[in-house]
Amino acid sequence: MSYYAQLSPQHLDVLKEIGNIGTGNGATALSMMTGKKVEIKVPSVSVIEFSRIPLFFKDPEKVTVGIQLGFHEELNGKLLLLFDSEPGRRLLELLIGFVNEDLTTMDEMQRSVFSEIGNIVCGSYLVSLTQFTNLFVNSEVPQITVDMVSGIVAESCLEYAEEEDHTILIETNFQIEGQQNVEAFLFLILKPESVKKLLESLGM
């Protein structure tokens, strides 16, 4: 039986709380950087089959900016920060005052803005994750892609597909307030054995 199928509602609540704390930290860092209020929304946890990933999204082929930050050592997994193209454009405008009509043709400067945002938000998330669990992780450099949302999420989960038919998506979202809000989604994707380790570290 799949390990994920054995998780109780309490386990899932703990994972949700981890998402909440992590995103809270990330949002604080982002707020300091942008000088704007950043609001986080209620987190959710979904255990889904890989095959269902495209159906998880309302519009699975929506062009989305994805920033992935992998981490390893005592926990293995990745954080995936997603901006739909419209909020993505607004974020660029907010930070460098220049908007690209088509985010698939961003230049180095624009891509590095997203990388840096990913670094800050995901890095703060990871710090709180390690403090909370007392587990040590090392993060990689952020990687960025602009593509269809279900393709990006599938790609991030793919590494763990060998051992599991399911993936667990710890989803949070936040928005940077302004004249128009910039909404972002953040997924914590863990290697199956790391989910176990994480829960054990919290005495579950």
């Binding site: 890989f50 495209p54 450099v141 279900s150 393709g151 599938a154």
Partner: protein, 140 residues
């Protein structure tokens, strides 16, 4: 109205005309469309990983080798002439570019699919939107 079937990641399906097979959001995954135009039999598989390593798998559609094998078996059962097949493949992208150490799943998927198809069909599959930097949708 034409009947449509959506194939999820790591799934496959075969069918007869006029069924339309669709798969969404191909990134480094590879969508493989195979058909026997004369018999009106076709199949689509959304491959996630290149090789099953010969072990028993619960979901053969996840891997190029096991998936193409079961798909062709099904198509054969529907009356397709396995020596007269055509194939098209799409996907196999390298999504996150900045990785030197990336697993290059897209490329490996593409290569695996090509060699598995070569073993099973009469000729090279026709490439179609291959190995570009981004994902695609495959429709029929």
């Amino acid at each position: 109205m034409e009947e449509k079937a959506i194939i999820g990641i790591g799934e496959y399906k075969s069918g007869k005309n006029p069924l339309v097979l669709v798969t969404l959001g191909l990134g480094s995954c590879v969508g493989v469309c195979i058909r026997d135009p004369a018999k009106g039999v076709g199949g689509l598989i959304h491959v996630m990983l290149p090789e099953s390593g010969g072990k028993e798998v619960s979901k053969p559609g996840k891997y190029a080798d096991s998936g193409i094998e079961v798909l062709l078996k099904e198509m054969g059962a529907l009356g397709a002439n396995l020596s007269k097949l055509e194939a098209k493949i799409a996907g196999g992208a390298a999504m996150f570019k900045s990785t030197g150490s990336s697993m290059e799943v897209g490329k490996r998927n593409t290569e695996a699919v090509r060699s598995d198809l070569r073993d099973c069909t009469s000729g090279e599959p026709k490439p179609w939107k291959m190995n570009r930097g981004s994902g695609y949708q495959v429709d029929r």
